[in-house]
Subunit: 589 residues, 2 copies
């Protein structure tokens, strides 16, 4: 009995889905059903397109939309995150496998599975050891620059499919050059299918929704109809291609035979070679997938006042990738468009994801033959329209306006992705953002402060008319003191002391110093000793609790213990009194 | 006329020595003369020993004590820094050249010059572009761990010279193992010379000085006598070796022929090969040399209320190394023992360094023949006694007590230097210290605050009995909000909001937030939007000037402009009034 009761308490913690279902109540089922169907309609063409983008057969994309979302539905803490193949990861997979496989098709296929398995293991381990914080070192601007650059790479890589020109893989500049020199090989039937699909897909987004709403349709219905446009395009294009017999008549590239079967769970990938060679790529792919997923999950959760558990998300996404590997397919992550659709159409729990997975399973099992005549150019058009949204020019401009350093990191990452490749570009962005951060904290904001007349406020003497005391140099340090800035802090102080030779008291205002590391402590100790030699006394004010706790047991802390004031005002008052008593008791008249 | 006057104004800026001489006045000459002589007495044996440690002929050490100190004397801003060969750099040189030369003696000799030239260029460029701040990324604990590890490596490398056992170079564990297995080859005459020298050198430090002072000698005279002990040991040992004819009779290893000449400036190193291969080592050696020099110069300058200019120090040290390369010798830096001695015996300007260089030049020109019989074991004893001071156990313990992360960085660096080698160990320490710093700022100190009853003070509710308002969650963030901690900050807030479902107002106290980067801004914008969805209003208090300036033009800044309070107290008052007016105007009775 009590064992059963305990299981009921523990299970929802292990499987958040149970908690979601209980919290959402019975009424949620209908919402989830509709969301699940809409998602399946959106995902069937998209999944196949992304598998092709990764250089894999289209059914791999379907499989990646079956087992991983099931795993995520059980273990994930976001109620609306849609997990499956995503464009940027597909590009990263293709880039990693291009070097690794060296043209061997078998290595390419098994390599994709290894990437999913290793990435899944890596994320699960990070989550199990609660190291989720590690992934925060990919900053938003770097991620944004990376995503924009990757989207541009993807679009460039699809131009040849849209034009029907056969090109070797290369970087973005090589591809553009090759396109220009091969432009005479333009294949008109392919271009026709590609262009029409592109135009219908673009028109089928906001323009169609606005039109439907203007003719009086409810916002939600208009949205639901808009979501079916990609599937409608796929069906019409496939029908047209089949009826016009374009494959044999005009040599139009089509998807061809897609085997009709369900993914069979297998541990065969465990014995595949290449685990070592692919590990760095797998880690990068997993990190990017995780960071994209979790930032998406957080944005969506916040809108409904729900919470996402970072470490459990790591485990859930890790298990989703392991589920992808078991199904013999590519790495997965939370996709932007599918998650937002899921949210917009009102999914309440991950039950929607389970319904989607089931429907896609049905498609994979019974309807793959229908896609034989689907032109490659139409898949390319779907990819281009989907990833074009990822190029965030407005966001880049906003970042640049707000912070030049972040803007530079974004721009460099984007350019590096285009010029150096997707992995090297991302690494460069990460290193640059760390270097810029260290540079920034290495040049802290330090000011000389004085008292605003008649108040208890002390402000920068360069910004305000503030009272100072020629005997006292009061310095406020607006940064934790640590190895990268200890020398700058010391330099500022000695420079200002040299400029104010009458100084007898140096007051450091520590309100914004959140900690002092060993290098900072050493600097302060040497400073204090040097000052003592020169007859200047060091005082501290507004030292924070945690900093005070640590200083207490140091030589410096003991030396300045009686010269540490709670507030800057108390320190100034003490100096003024000392000056007065000196004048009163001194030999000078 | 005016041209001459201008030259008089500009020259002291270009050549700090002129300014030093003018500031010190005529009386300084006598002090500098004594300091110069004492330094020469100390440096002759030490310089030869360090050249041998670097695998170079002993005269190279003498040359490195002639031209580089002259260059530093002209351009350096520290009045007492003694520049020349130092033990840790000698070890780094040997380690770099061991891999590079692959047994070729000529490559070894030219490689040392390339290291000096490249390092000198690198430092000069850093200084010219005012990039001195870059070198701050070697933290004090890492430098301390590195120095201790290097000192242990050096001592291990000298044991065979002290015992007279011939061993191949290897890492510290291989050397110790080889020593044990070759212990039977112990050479008793060598050991005798080595041990006696070691004992006299050790006794000739503090014990001798204490003894001399106890018998009534003045502190300064006692110190001067103590400083001559190494030279006395060298002279006596050489005499004994020559008179006993130990070289031919017992096969004792001695220094042998040291050519009697002065270094001839040459630019021959410019055409030498290996610039590319040695660049990484040269940069590391130059960085370590610079960081050690400048921290030393700062400590000594502070004691006399003088100032060291970081960027000019880079140039001066760069030129010193170029001067070393021109003289065909090894990289140099400010040495600990020579600088402290210089300071202690009262050098007032770099004139002391010029006198030392001149005296060593005289030795190099006329007296090298006298060192023929100097036993290698005595040089080894000098090295061991000099570097043993660099192992700073007390400092390591203090760092560990003060800060576990810094202590770990120190220990890992030391162990890595011993286990992985001197360069890899240093790099590992630097990367680890950066990672630990990011980890620390990635886990910022965040607390919920309340009002201390009857005051304007707001403190951590977990540390103090503080008044809170069930409608208000007030959170103080003690760190700048940036990409590595934005997720943690958000997590803290959403966790506490979930635990306090009655919250209607969230107040962020920003007194310690020195800046918000684009990732932090994005997090706050998403947070604010999510809160607005959920009916919670975001307020800010105590936003710093620079942060406020930036926020003003952002969407978030505009949204919260009217909800930003100067002080936490004002925000609390506003909440209390709003609550009261709500109660007064509300429908509830």
């Amino acid at each position: 009995m009590s064992g059963g009761a305990r299981a009921w308490q523990i299970l929802p913690r292990l499987l958040p889905l149970l908690g979601q279902l209980r919290a959402a109540g019975r009424s949620a089922w209908a919402d989830d059903l509709i969301a699940g169907i809409i998602m399946a309609v959106l995902l069937v063409p998209q999944s196949m397109a992304y598998a092709v983008l990764a250089g894999l057969p289209p059914e791999m994309g379907l499989y990646a939309s079956i087992t991983p979302p099931l795993a995520y539905a059980l273990f994930g803490t976001s109620r609306v995150l849609g997990v499956g193949p995503v464009a940027v990861l597909a590009l990263m997979v293709a880039s990693a496998l291009n070097d690794y496989s060296a043209g061997d098709r078998q290595l390419w296929l098994s390599g994709a599975v290894i990437l999913a398995a290793e990435g899944g293991l890596f994320l699960s381990l990070l989550g199990a050891f609660r190291l989720g914080v590690l992934v925060n070192f990919i900053s938003h601007p770097v991620l944004s620059g990376f995503t924009s650059g990757a989207a541009m790479l993807i679009i460039t890589s699809q131009i040849n499919h849209l034009l029907g020109i056969d090109l070797a893989r290369g970087d973005v500049f090589e591809t553009l050059q090759a396109l220009i020199s091969h432009f005479g090989e333009l294949h008109v039937p392919t271009l026709t299918f590609g262009l029409v699909a592109l135009i219908v897909l673009l028109a089928g987004r906001s323009p169609l929704r606005r039109l439907l709403q203007r003719v009086g349709m409810a916002a939600r219905s208009a949205m639901l109809i808009v979501r079916t446009i990609p599937l409608v395009v796929v069906i019409l294009a496939t029908l047209a291609a089949a009826l016009l017999n374009v494959e044999s008549t005009y040599g139009l590239a089509v998807v061809g035979t897609v085997p009709a079967r369900l993914p069979v769970p297998s541990l065969g990938f465990l014995s595949a070679p290449g685990w070592h060679a692919l590990l760095p790529s797998a880690v990068l792919i997993a990190l990017v997938g995780y960071v994209e997923s979790v930032s998406l999950a957080k944005v969506l959760a916040a809108r409904r006042r729900q919470k996402v558990d970072v470490n459990r998300e790591l485990i859930a996404l890790g298990l989703s990738n392991l589920a992808a590997a078991a199904a013999g397919t590519m790495p997965v992550a939370g996709g932007f468009s599918r998650s937002v659709v899921n949210f917009d159409v009102g999914a309440r729990t991950q039950l929607a994801g389970i319904i989607t997975a089931g429907l896609i399973g049905v498609v994979a099992l019974f309807f793959t033959g229908w896609f034989y005549y689907l032109p490659d150019a139409v898949l390319a058009a779907i990819i281009v329209v989907a990833v074009a949204q990822l190029i965030d020019v407005a966001g880049a401009r906003r970042v640049w306006a707000y912070d030049r350093a972040d803007g530079a990191a974004l721009a460099v990452t984007c350019v590096a992705v285009l010029g150096l490749g997707i992995e090297l570009g991302l690494l460069m962005g990460i290193v640059l953002s760390l270097a810029l951060y260290l540079w920034r904290t290495g040049h802290p904001h330090i000011v000389v402060v004085g008292r605003l007349p008649g108040t208890e406020h002390f402000r920068n003497v360069n910004r305000y008319v503030a009272q100072t005391n020629p005997r006292v140099l009061a310095v406020r340090i607006d940064e934790s003191i640590y190895f990268a800035n200890a020398a700058q802090v010391e330099d500022f102080i000695t420079r200002h002391l040299a400029a104010a030779p009458d100084t007898q008291e140096l007051l450091l205002v520590m309100a914004a110093v959140n900690y002092i590391d060993a290098s900072g402590l050493e600097m302060l100790e040497h400073l204090e000793e040097g000052l003592a030699y020169a007859g200047i006394v060091l005082y501290l004010a507004e030292v924070k609790g945690p900093v005070q706790d640590r200083l207490r047991h140091t030589r410096l802390g003991q030396r300045v213990a009686e010269r540490t004031y709670l507030t800057t005002g108390q320190a100034f008052d003490a100096f003024a009194n000392a000056g007065r008593s000196k004048r009163l008791n001194g030999v000078d008249p």
